[in-house]
Symmetry: C2
Subunit: 396 residues, 2 copies
Amino acid sequence: MTDFTATRARFDLPDGIVYLDGNSLGPLPRDAAHRIARTVTDEWGGQLITAWNRAGWMDQPARLGDRIARLVGAAPGTVVVGDTLSLKVTQCLAAALQLRPDRRVVLSDSGNFPSDLYMAQGLLAALGQGHELRVVAPEDVEAAIGPEVAALMLTEVDYRTGRKHDMAALTAKAHDVGALAIWDLAHSAGALPVDLTGTGADFAAGCTYKFLNGGPGAPAFVYVAPDHQHVAPLLSGWLGHEAPFAFDPDYRPGPGISRMRVGTPPVLQMAALEAALDIFDTVDMQALRARSQHLGDRLIAAVEARCPNVTLASPRDPEARGSQISFRHPEGYAVMQALIARGVVGDFRAPDILRFGITPLYIGEAEIDRAAETLADILDTAAWDRPEYKHRAAVT
Amino acid sequence: MTDFTATRARFDLPDGIVYLDGNSLGPLPRDAAHRIARTVTDEWGGQLITAWNRAGWMDQPARLGDRIARLVGAAPGTVVVGDTLSLKVTQCLAAALQLRPDRRVVLSDSGNFPSDLYMAQGLLAALGQGHELRVVAPEDVEAAIGPEVAALMLTEVDYRTGRKHDMAALTAKAHDVGALAIWDLAHSAGALPVDLTGTGADFAAGCTYKFLNGGPGAPAFVYVAPDHQHVAPLLSGWLGHEAPFAFDPDYRPGPGISRMRVGTPPVLQMAALEAALDIFDTVDMQALRARSQHLGDRLIAAVEARCPNVTLASPRDPEARGSQISFRHPEGYAVMQALIARGVVGDFRAPDILRFGITPLYIGEAEIDRAAETLADILDTAAWDRPEYKHRAAVT
């Protein structure tokens, strides 16, 4: 069993805040500040260059990868940490195209995070081999998987609506036609159980600063199924070399997942991520999922009971969504600013979506109820209708 | 004038250590620990998601880029921070090849850092357009610059020997034949004056964890000359998009250097880098260069006077080298381990090179003299000839 009171105590959250934006940036684990300070002062300051070996910095991408592997249903030695999600997705796509040299279609959907689409557009243009990025509506993906598809490239959970694809079914369909499946786990890792091995996913990547709470700018992770680890990586950097410190003039890919490494890893960010992953050591992902679904249902019920002018944008079926609940409101941006001003922190996604990320590690029924009541009051009193809430700054 | 006693006081160096490895990992700036702690606790912990705007995280890559620009002779708006050096060099190379679509040769040299060569090998293979990576000896580069060359891709200062290319002359020669020049400034930025604008360099990239002291895994920087900023970037991520938070399905490159951004920047690493760059605000790069050359000359003289079995691997002419002095010794690995055991920290590069990085910000004559005396004593007494010094771990 997972003790969610205990996990709540392991985060340093500001007093009076209901934080429902852990799907964008997870909060600070209490241990992270100490862990980072130790890395800065004792390791960087005290051990200097020798910390690469003495403090284990060099192997940290593999160690953290193995810890994330457990959370996404992957075997040890199949996940490594580094770079950013955009880059790791691109490595996955390039590898998949190498494995399907006679096919020219990359299939994705309009619910994918735009950066995945942008990176694919850039890669396909650079390759200059006539590949097509075919983007269909999320509900049309299954029917669009045909024998011309080299790679299916999807984000499991839609960043706007929380709609969750059926990873097992779509991967199976892809394999039926000889295509490969690449899964972006940005809104899955740490949010719900993922079974990369069981579903037969070929490649996956995710970020660690959302539900994994690794901190702002925390590195990404990448998964390559054991059968595909022989592929030569795009972005063939020295730390993916078989012997980085031999300084050979020619690239020879390192063993297994190590070849997906590129350059020098972000040591300070990895220290924060390590502290964040410690919390997950105490968490059963099935228990987390059950609690997330319960809290999501509760938020939907409370909002629908009290807020007639918002409409649910997320699937009502808890099995069909990730760990966020989204609503639409025509003045969504201003409404969210009013919520934030009252200490209920979600976020807004154009054109009209209010997003509420639900992380049971630190969110419970009291927070859900307060969020719904605050939203209802703001709408009842039109408290959002103020110029300062309508002025749009850049938002994340 | 630069006060090097004052700059020395701004680093947190362990007692009793002579640190001559700042060319691999610069030491901890005293202010960095506080700056990082503030970013972790007050910004991440206290401001959560709102820190992306309130604490200025989102614009930090551009702000830090402009500060680095001053140190490498570049104009504001031409440098941005992010990712790793291997990735930024690759973006430069891809851009250069776009600008020279009818040419098929990338010219580099055997003194280039291997990761640059690996990344180029990978990129050229992925492009599949018959490009050749032509690698010549450093002294043969100038003669090899011909009209078939699309891009000259060099590291200004050789990571093993410290030999410095003539950036102005080689860039001019490249331009004479219609080629573009890409400079890797890994061992230049913060080590010596660089004049990207004056030399007419087309592209450049560098890392910030060496002479700039940005910390382990600090992000890289990339420079694109104003005339080339229209080129579509390889690695077209969302933060290089014209309007990242519009979440358009199609990539449209952002203005100027911003399009070289890819994914979410490493906020904790950037906090450390910011503190490190504060020190450079007090530094005149010409004064730093003069002192570096003086200290290098002094190390060469002292070692040559007392250590008959080591040979100088760096250029004797201080104008022809960067800010490191390298020597060769057949038992170089063991000798370096013995030096480190006595508190003189340089590093080893295969097959036989002892490297000593010289950073006048915290190294003076006393440290140089102690390093030379310690080396002499180790060689005089064969103190290196112990099994524990000969056993090779991974080294950076």
